[in-house]
């Protein structure tokens, strides 16, 4: 599959035109997600790097801070 469409995964030579297809793709491949997010439990902002497959049609991972993860 070429990379002529809107959403592009260069590592897996995949592209598509809809968010639904894109989120489905993210559930099938292991990707690394980087960014800045609020902890879903305590709300503190954290820098994160998360690697895995996203489930349930999500487009980004829910992030837990280290303190909440340790509890």
């Amino acid at each position: 599959m070429g990379l002529g469409k809107t959403y592009k995964d260069f590592e897996n030579d995949f592209s598509c035109d809809t968010l639904a297809e894109w989120n489905e793709h993210l559930g099938t491949v292991t990707k690394t997600y980087v960014g800045n997010s609020e902890c879903v439990t305590c709300g503190d902002r954290v820098e994160f790097e998360w690697t895995g497959k996203l489930k349930n049609g999500k487009g980004y991972p829910d992030i837990l801070c280290e303190v909440c993860k340790a509890q």
Binding site: T6, Y7, K8, D9, F10, E11, N12, T18, L19, A20, W22, L26, K31, T32, Y33, V34, G35, N36, S37, E38, G59, Y60, P61, I63
Partner: protein
């Protein structure tokens, strides 16, 4: 271009599609916006899903500055999300979000999540606003590079207008593709 808008979970709700201004055809930075009222609640309503928007002229200039012309440290990303009830539509020439909402829980805010998946062209900005008052006909969103009113507007998108009572939530998700 078209999008599925106002597709409520309740099957009895109407489905409405409105074509307004779409993304610039020559834009290499595309933005797609999804708006959900009361996400996860019994009365959840998808206001707009995966809708193309436009990159403003100022946003293009800002991006180019980050890539090519800045000689100092880079600027802050356009990761602040703003809302308005203005009905004039998105315009690439806008340098502000007209009549931007500044009170009642819908004031401009840093995205709750700012996430890029490496090896892709996709970045997600998302924020759930919680209304602390009554808002009528909220119908446009924009992204900015600072929290306070002002700054550079990067993207704009209109969506089916939605009214909020106190405690209603509005989840705004921008999925941005570059390249």
């Amino acid at each position: 271009m078209s999008c599925d808008e106002h597709t409520a979970i309740d099957e009895s709700a109407s489905v409405e599609v409105i074509n307004r201004k779409t993304v610039n055809d020559n834009s290499i930075i595309h933005g797609y916006v999804t708006i959900v009222k009361n996400q996860g609640m019994a009365d959840e309503q998808i206001i707009c899903q995966d809708k193309p928007n436009l990159l403003t002229d100022d946003g293009r200039d800002y991006a180019i500055a980050q890539f090519y012309t800045n000689t100092g440290a880079g600027g802050v990303g356009m990761n602040f999300i703003a809302l308005t009830s203005d009905s004039t539509g998105a315009d690439a020439g806008d340098s502000t979000l007209p009549s931007e909402i500044t009170t009642g829980g819908l004031e401009r805010a840093l995205a709750t999540t700012i996430t890029h998946s490496t090896g892709t062209n996709s970045t997600v900005l998302a924020k759930t606003f919680t209304s602390t008052g009554t808002h009528t006909a909220v119908q446009m969103s924009g992204t900015f590079n600072q929290l306070s009113v002002g700054g550079v507007i990067g993207h704009e998108s209109v969506f089916t207008s939605v009214s909020l009572a106190s405690s209603d939530t509005l989840t705004v998700t921008w999925t941005l593709t570059l390249g």
